[in-house]
């Protein structure tokens, strides 16, 4: 989230698209009801199903799953055509005026530089024209034919309301009604918030879905303001923390990234991480990259990381592929290339696509270690559960070890919520049975491994032997110790760079914030963005003061929000070029003539003059990006691409199948239904229900009571056509597998007309499996295709093709 949950109450218009906040985030949704009740805010829901969010919406429109980009670019087009643009904001705070390199072009669904064989682009032309002074050229009049604004106008012009209806199935008048409601938020005194979740991410072009809305929000002037923003509703209570702390194969804590094998030494690594400003005076805050990196390495390796050994750069793994994401790992498992899979707090047999392929992969492991507080299907993949999980235990050689862990309520620590709040929590109960804290298990394994390396050596034992392990009890680091480590501390006395005689911090003290991070090895810090969360003043995450001066929704004294306790990112954009709030009634910060002050922690240097420094301080441009340069694999602008399985060919680019740069493994192509395949005529989608949390709560009796048995949802029209009765059994199958479920026949799903063709939606909730208190069922991933987003490999769970027929149900 750029903003926070509590800030949603400040909005005038909530757009829920690519998510179902009422259903999946009912507690956070309270802030929508607050905005509606107290500000008269309106709620728009755009979704293939009339869902629980729609039940309390002011306006609902249907959309076919996987067509969001067409809708969003349609909205941008409509806003441009109808002058619903916050011009001052767009001109000053976005890269609309930046001039793009000659040679950049877009045609027939593809940008310049496409290589069909590699399924990748040469992205060299996706850049700004750089002037002789080293800065990007701009045209403040936005008239230049190659300025971003001109290119954008041209790019979105094909997404007319008629085209939106043709691709998305959204009736034109409904689209126009929504466009008008959204267009009103181009006023500086009206804001719109976007709430989205897996409905946008779980596509082969998920990141571009989100960009579509981010671009719209930028031209409406809704980023950085109260009640605005791009608000990702995270699906687990700490999944934001997972990304923050870099638990991804190509990431390091605080959004630093792992080196690749093309960066054999530290200089090569840093050479692409200079982040030189692209416009005069800009902060380009990533210029501090080295401070964050070196402090991280000091935190990891202590005395073993020195200036002489480039801060132990060699200890870091170097990626030979963009990332070792889960899809890739299961592909490798299936090929027999993986021996050990250490599965901590994760149930991939349910959570990743194409269950049959996953089970095959797990069967080829030598050892599978499960750390989980619950019994999971993954841990039991080898058990035969009849139609629910066919397996031949005798033929599976994988050894499975289950290590029971504690759950959040039995542990102390912090959870990072969607609004980036690090909220400390305390155990509410003791661990049951043999359950152990995850940190204990990891520490025990580490100590034993270290001992083995010490005794036996090995190819490269240094990273393990030299890992900084200065915990009071090496066998179990405490959550407080780990939190302090992430915050960072001074290794020696630290002095003010401006005045070397002025000591800022004594050796051994906690750092007050990432501003004190140093690149000379004098500070250590495990995760720079968390700096400030555990200072000499104590554990900031444990604060529970819910005072909120003037009821802005900031709650600065409640826990700690990264970065720097800032509640709304880019909040300098809430003010005009003179530093005065666009909407005085929604003041967040303002320039008082010498510094920035206000209700939130300014997202800019406190004394940076408003006319000089742009609000998007992490970007070298200082602006938000309508054109994202070469930073995304699939294009500097979003393009409507069909899902890999789709009822129709791509209307705007019939030759392009799916996202043209999404990675597809050879075997998986064969398991995709052809475009318009009559054997798989219905558009399937998967989703969550409010009664359950993923695959956890089916273990809980009360949740199992509330939604005991698997079902699929279809329209009354499809039910009639297929002679399916409400409450009767149906069989649903894709090219990858099948499931049996009860039919919920509903008015909430309606057939849509896509490019002249009637398309029925089949909705598949995901929550059931073969273990737990609820009735046995099939996970939705028996149906879903094994392909992910082109940039970050989030699997395409939201759009696939199926068939359906009445069934007599499972044979007992």
């Amino acid at each position: 989230m750029t903003n926070s949950w509590t800030d949603i109450r400040n909005t005038d218009l909530v757009v829920i698209m690519g998510g179902n906040a009422a259903e999946a985030h009912p507690c956070g949704f309270k802030w929508v009801t607050e905005a509606k009740a107290n500000r008269g805010a309106k709620l728009i829901v755009i979704d293939p199903r009339f869902n629980r969010s729609a039940s309390v919406a002011d306006y609902y429109a249907p959309i076919r799953q996987g067509s969001d980009i067409a809708f969003l670019l349609g909205l941008i087009n409509w806003c441009i055509q109808n002058d619903k643009v916050q011009w001052a904001y767009t001109k000053a705070f976005t890269n609309a005026s930046f001039i793009v390199k000659e040679g950049f072009a877009y045609q027939d669904g593809l940008f310049t530089g496409y290589d069909e064989g590699k399924r990748d682009y040469n992205r060299d032309s996706w850049e700004y024209e750089i002037g002789p002074d080293g800065y990007a050229l701009i045209d403040e009049t936005l008239q230049h034919p190659r300025c971003v604004w001109s290119l954008l106008k041209q790019h979105v012009s094909i997404y007319t309301p008629e085209m939106v209806e043709r691709i998305c199935g959204t009736p034109k008048e409904k689209f126009l009604h929504i466009a008008q409601m959204i267009g009103e938020c181009s006023s500086p005194t009206k804001t719109m918030t976007s709430m989205y979740a897996l409905g946008w991410t779980q596509h082969s072009k998920g990141a571009q879905n989100i960009r579509g809305m981010a671009m719209l929000q930028l031209i409406l002037g809704n980023i950085g303001v109260r009640g605005g923003g791009m608000n990702a509703l995270r699906g687990h209570s700490n999944i934001q923390g997972l990304t923050d702390i870099g638990l991804l194969s190509n990431a390091m804590p605080g959004y630093l990234n792992l080196p690749t094998d093309k960066e054999p030494d530290f200089n090569a690594y840093m050479s692409t991480r200079g982040f030189k400003p692209l416009r005069p005076n800009q902060m380009s805050y990533w210029q501090n990259y080295k401070k964050f990196f070196v402090s991280f390495m000091k935190s990891m390796y202590g005395g073993a990381a020195t200036a002489q050994n480039d801060w132990a750069y060699d200890y870091l793994p170097k990626l030979d592929v963009p990332n070792y994401d889960i899809l890739r790992m299961f592909e490798r498992m299936k090929k027999g290339e993986v021996n050990l899979y250490f599965c901590q707090g994760f149930n991939p047999l349910q959570a990743f696509p194409n269950k049959a392929k996953l089970a095959e992969g797990l069967s080829k492991l030598k050892l599978l270690v499960i750390m989980d507080p619950l019994q999971t299907e993954t841990a039991r993949f080898w058990e035969d559960h009849g139609i629910y999980n066919k397996a031949d235990p005798a033929s599976i050689k994988t050894e499975v070890i289950q290590l029971p862990t504690t759950c959040f309520a039995e542990d102390e620590g912090s959870l990072v919520n969607s609004g980036r709040w690090l909220q400390w929590h305390w155990p509410g109960g003791s661990p049951p049975g043999e359950a152990k804290h995850d940190a204990w298990i990891m520490a025990q394994i580490h100590l034993r491994l270290k001992e083995l390396y010490r005794k036996e050596g090995g190819a490269f034992p240094d990273p393990i032997l030299n890992l900084n392990w200065a915990y009071k009890d090496p066998g179990e680091p405490t959550p407080e110790e780990l939190a302090k480590e992430m915050n960072g501390s001074a290794l020696v006395d630290v002095f003010d760079p401006a005045d070397p005689t002025k000591k800022i911090l004594e050796a051994g003290k906690q750092l007050a914030g990432f501003g004190q991070y140093r690149d000379d090895g004098t500070t250590a810090g495990g995760c720079w963005i968390f700096s400030g969360s555990f200072t000499e003043a104590g554990n900031m995450m444990a604060r529970r003061d819910n005072s909120d001066p003037d009821e802005t929704g900031a709650y600065l004294k409640w826990t700690f929000a990264w970065p720097a306790n800032r509640r709304i990112l880019y909040n300098r954009a809430s003010c005009d070029l003179d530093g005065k709030p666009w909407d005085p009634s929604r003041k967040l910060i303002e320039w008082d003539g010498s510094k920035w002050t206000g209700y939130d922690v300014p997202d800019i240097a406190p004394t940076a003059k408003p006319q000089d420094v742009g609000p998007f301080i992490m970007n070298p441009e200082g602006t938000g990006r309508l054109f994202v340069r070469k930073m995304m694999r699939d294009g500097p602008f979003p393009v409507h691409y069909e899902p890999f399985e789709s009822p129709v060919a791509n209307v705007i680019a019939p030759k392009v199948r799916g996202n043209p740069v999404a990675r597809v493994f050879a075997d998986d192509w064969k398991q995709f239904a052809d475009i318009g395949d009559p054997n798989f005529p219905y558009a399937g989608t998967s989703y969550r229900l409010t009664e359950h949390f993923h695959y956890w709560t089916k273990n809980n009796h009360v949740n199992a009571v509330l939604q005991p048995q698997q079902f699929v949802e279809i329209s009354e029209e499809l039910a009639k056509e297929k002679r399916i009765v409400k409450g009767g059994w149906v069989r649903v199958w894709s090219k990858r597998g099948e499931l049996l479920a009860i039919a919920v026949v509903t008015k909430r799903i309606k057939p849509m007309t896509i490019d002249g063709k009637t398309v029925h939606v089949v909705g598949v909730p995901i929550h059931w499996g073969f273990v737990g208190a609820a009735r046995k069922g099939f996970p939705a991933n028996v149906l879903t295709p094994f392909v992910g987003d082109a940039n970050i490999e989030t699997p395409e769970f939201k759009a696939f093709m199926v068939n359906i027929e009445p069934s007599t149900g499972p044979v007992a």
Binding site: A22, E34, L706, Q707, A743, V744
Partner: protein, 329 residues
């Protein structure tokens, strides 16, 4: 936001119940002296227009009241269980309704449960003294030690709420968390509701809050938005805000004009009094007749006549009219 009810105090004094026996206003099958002063009436307001159907209220109710509902099956709808049970005091009911005026689908989600009527039909129907009580704050509560499981409360209730347990054969329904309310807390469902679709306070506060909500709804085009506080049962201590208050029955059969059934009124009213009178009259008439007419005794003459008949001797013709058989032949 409606001001949330503060968390309970750890002060032991706070655990002293704030109402009890002395505040009982009505007691089933009993005559009670109503308390001299009535407690402030409480109410739960269920704002159907804010409800997202998450069933947190159902879960909270099961958890707080330590109820174990059975794991059922899906019946092709979102409801589960399908009806209120002795373990499910509350239930979300989902209705897919196409508004004939706008032709838009509306998904009406109503939390069903006891309405805590001011004039409770269950209490009126209950034959067992003290099985149902009404406190002067409006809470209608079942006292299971007095319940005989006859199910008359089900017939008395205009809302089809109470259910008889198949285990202990006593009637169960929402208590409005009288145990929580007694110590200054709101009902568990209210506490769990994420969107404040359920709020709790004094009845006056709730009516005021409902007005605030109705104003908002009217501004959004729900011209018939209104409060459901049916006067047919004297008003209720669980009230609804409805977008279409002119037609409550679209909300999964919420009664348009609930009142205690006239059949129940007849049964518990005139039938009881007339019946007792009739039986009394019959018995009295017998006694009176006996006193006036005296016993009907067999005479010596009767015995002799019988002996003569049995012995084959001619019997003198009876004093009365000729035997019918003679006439018939």
């Amino acid at each position: 936001m409606f001001p949330p009810i503060p968390n309970p105090s750890v002060d032991p004094a706070a655990a002293t119940p704030r109402f009890g026996e002395k505040d009982i206003m009505r007691r089933s099958a009993s005559t009670v002296e109503p308390p001299a002063t009535r407690l402030t009436e409480v109410a739960k307001l269920i704002d159907v227009t804010k409800c997202i159907g998450c069933k947190a209220c159902q879960a909270a109710c099961l958890e707080w009241n330590q109820l174990t509902e059975e794991i059922g099956v899906n019946h092709g709808v979102y409801e589960n269980p399908m009806d209120l049970t002795e373990n499910s005091f509350t239930l979300m009911r989902f209705t897919e309704w196409v508004n004939p005026e706008t032709e838009n689908l509306e998904w009406l989600i109503r939390k069903d449960g006891c309405m805590h009527c001011e004039d409770p039909g269950c209490l009126k129907a209950c034959p067992s003294p003290g099985a149902i009580v009404q406190y002067s704050n409006g809470i209608v509560d079942f006292q299971h030690e007095n319940c005989i499981g006859c199910g008359y409360c089900i017939k008395g209730c205009p809302f089809d709420i109470p259910r008889i347990s198949k285990v202990d054969h006593t009637a169960y329904k929402c208590t409005l968390c009288s145990d929580r309310v007694a110590v200054g807390q709101g009902p568990a469902c209210q506490k769990a509701c994420p969107t404040q679709a359920i709020v709790f306070g004094t009845k006056e506060e709730m009516k005021g809050w409902a007005d605030f909500r109705i104003k908002d709804l009217k501004s959004r085009g729900f011209e018939n938005a209104g409060l459901y506080d049916p006067q047919g049962v004297g008003g209720t201590h669980v009230m609804y805000v409805l977008h279409h208050a002119d037609q409550p029955s679209i909300y999964a059969g919420l009664p348009d004009n609930p009142r205690i059934s006239p059949i129940v009124e007849t049964w518990k009213g005139i039938t009881k009094y007339m019946g007792m009178a009739l039986m009394g009259v019959a018995a009295a008439a017998g006694v009176l007749h006996y006193l006036v007419a005296g016993p009907n005794k067999v005479t010596e003459e009767d015995e002799e006549n019988a002996e003569r008949l049995a012995g084959g001797t001619a019997v003198p013709p009876p004093a009365g009219p000729a035997p019918l058989e003679g006439r018939r032949s």
